[in-house]
Amino acid sequence: MIKNANSDLWAGCIGLALSVAFWFSIDEEIMRLSIMFPKAMIAIMALISILLLVKGILKAERQDLFNVGSNRRVLITALLFFIWGVAISYLGFFVSSVLAILAQAWYLALARRKVTLPTLALWLVVAAGEVAFFYLIFTRLLHVPLPKGILI
């Protein structure tokens, strides 16, 4: 929770940082035709960022950031998503999805209720069912090959 943050200042800084990052990653050998538009865009982005910084100093729009609910839950949920994404290429789609769904459901449910072992077991079946449903639709019906890992 960040109280009373100057959101204009933050926005301006982020914008400026992005402008710099993009600008300096431009290959010097690139042809004019390919880069004239992005260069103009970067310039405009930088300009808007500077305007935001100015506004932030003069007539700041202050607001509380990250003040909704539990930020820790958001963090863990995000972490689980990323682990899930990476796990797909190692454990394969099926296994990593079932595990990820179980993990997220368990963690998020803890905020609302008690989770007992039999409940978890039930959820494992539900998760497996869900994933199987989508898996079959995608691989059999739509012919999209889903990554196979160590197990399935």
Binding site: A11, M45, T77, F81, F82, F93
Partner: protein
């Protein structure tokens, strides 16, 4: 293309005859249902669905194959609204604006009403598109050819002025979001020049940021994080009074009670549809914006205004049949799914052009009419399906909803280009989107920038190349009469917020409602 009335009528009658076949009806209903499912899943697009269907159509006789494709297409564009309304994620890019009003309606417990509205609006739009295609193809086709690089550029700029009206709150932040979106769109291979930009050394970045990946990431993930933070789902329970309002005839009356909105949105849908390469993605945003502008209470938009939803959903379904105008008359696909349909036509030896309406006239008219039937079929399928989906989502506890929606989006993202890196990009963009939302930079301008940036760049560069022999090549952008019309619209659209405020102040001096934008 002068076709004698009696000949056309004769063909239309024969076409209807060809369609009065239980197999055809079955295909239409299953096509619409399948399309609905595909459209509702964020990550699956209408084009994907058609591409998957393509090999199956080889074995079917041409009419059945085309009917199937048309039904799936119509259903998919409609289905996008479901995800937009229930989970704040456009299921297809043509339903982006549907989320703006649809989702707030859901939170207020009016989800069923919203779904019913979207259904009726989509059906009306679909039929309107078919009528345009049947009766106005020749002049519309000629108009579509007049859109060249300069015109594309100005259309893109016009679209970008939408950012101003769509940014709730700070205009500067909205513009910043727009430029961020445009920069995201520049990553990868330059559309003109073919060189790679901003790949930061990774070969996989040559593929850039796919628009749907960004759409899913920026819309869904922040919503999921929000649910996680709150510890509950955001879907409001539908109250008794709202359920009543969602009844079929009430909704039909409601939608038809604003004919101006409907007519305007359908016309916008058709104009955008005939511009090759535009399509539903842009139509829904422009129609929404116009509905907001024409409303007596534009400030209410964003809190669940039915008119906005109607505008978005009717205009995008117009583009289904509407974008086939250049396709059937000139062989030019008006929207990405049309490329698949073109492939099917060519494979069966059907060449776009006058032949299609004369020699193969019965087939063509049957196909066109079948899309109108598909639009009608959407009503029962959608209403029943909608209620079902709503019930499922409502009954699902939030701690299962989050990972399940995550599953659907990860799957959809992967399936797009068979790319595991796209999944990672989606997660990164989504998380970044959540953070940006905190400081007031919202997803819609970013996605707008992403969609329109590419069009603007191609238009600009191609146009200035066309003026290579001039002293100042950039003047080429101002040459054509069609460009002047568009430039006028751009100026008008950009100046509107100020003009409107001025108008209000002149009308009622001393009562200044709005702040300076």
């Amino acid at each position: 293309m002068i076709l004698h009335c009696e000949v056309v009528m004769e063909k239309l009658v024969l076409a209807l005859g060809a369609l009065a076949n239980p197999v055809v009806i079955l295909i239409i209903f299953s096509g619409v249902s399948a399309g609905l499912f595909v459209g509702a899943m964020p990550g699956l697009t209408a084009t994907m669905a058609l591409a998957v269907l393509l090999p199956f159509t080889f074995t079917l006789p041409p009419l059945l194959g085309l009917v199937a494709l048309g039904a799936v297409y119509m259903g998919a564009i409609y289905g996008g609204s479901f995800a937009a309304i229930l989970v704040n994620t456009p299921g297809t890019p043509s339903s982006i604006a549907s989320a703006f009003e649809g989702y707030p309606l859901s939170r207020q417990g009016r989800a069923l009403e919203a779904i019913s509205v979207a259904t009726i609006a989509s059906a009306i739009g679909g039929i309107a598109g078919v009528l345009f295609l049947l009766f106005l193809s020749p002049p519309l086709a000629r108009l579509s050819l007049r859109f060249g690089p300069s015109e594309y550029f100005w259309v893109a700029i016009l679209g970008l002025t939408l950012i101003a009206s769509l940014s709730e709150g700070s205009l500067l932040k909205g513009l910043l979001g727009g430029t961020i979106g445009m920069m995201l769109g520049t990553m990868g291979v330059a559309p003109i020049g073919g060189e790679t930009r901003f790949t930061f050394g990774m070969p996989v970045m040559q593929g850039g940021v796919e628009m749907i990946v960004a759409l899913i990431g920026l819309f869904v993930l922040p919503e999921l994080y929000n649910m996680a933070a709150l510890g509950r789902a955001s879907l409001g329970e539908v109250t008794v009074s709202s359920r009543e309002k969602a009844s079929f005839w009430r909704v039909v009356k409601r939608v038809l009670s604003q004919p101006g909105n409907l007519i305007r949105s359908c016309i916008i849908g058709e104009i955008v549809a005939i511009i090759p390469g535009a399509g539903g993605n842009i139509a829904n945003l422009v129609a929404y914006n116009e509905a907001k502008r024409a409303s007596k209470h534009p400030e209410r938009f964003g809190s669940g205004v039915i008119e906005g939803l109607v505008a978005s959903e009717s205009s995008n379904n117009v583009t289904v049949a509407g974008s086939m105008v250049p396709l059937l008359t000139l062989g030019i696909p008006g929207a990405p799914p049309d490329a698949v349909i073109l492939g099917v036509l060519l494979l069966h030896g059907l060449r776009p052009g006058i032949e299609l309406f004369t020699t193969s006239g019965v087939l063509t008219y049957a196909f066109i009419i079948s899309m109108g039937l598909a639009a009608l079929a959407m009503v029962p399928v959608g209403l029943i399906g909608g209620r079902l989906i709503y019930r499922i989502i409502f009954r699902t506890p939030y701690y299962f909803l989050v990972p399940t929606i995550g599953l659907a989006t990860i799957l959809g993202t992967f399936a797009l280009r068979n790319s595991f890196s796209d999944v990672i990009i989606m997660l990164i963009l989504g998380t970044a989107g959540y953070l940006l939302k905190q400081i007031g930079i919202n997803p819609p301008p970013i996605v707008l920038g992403l969609i329109l940036g590419g069009i603007a760049e191609v238009g600009y560069v191609q146009s200035t190349l066309g003026g290579a022999a001039y002293r100042f090549p950039v003047l080429r952008l101002f040459e054509n009469p069609l460009s002047w019309i568009l430039i006028g619209m751009v100026l008008f659209s950009a100046a509107w917020p100020y003009l409107a405020a001025l108008y209000r102040r002149l009308r009622s001096p001393g009562v200044s409602k709005g702040d300076d934008p």
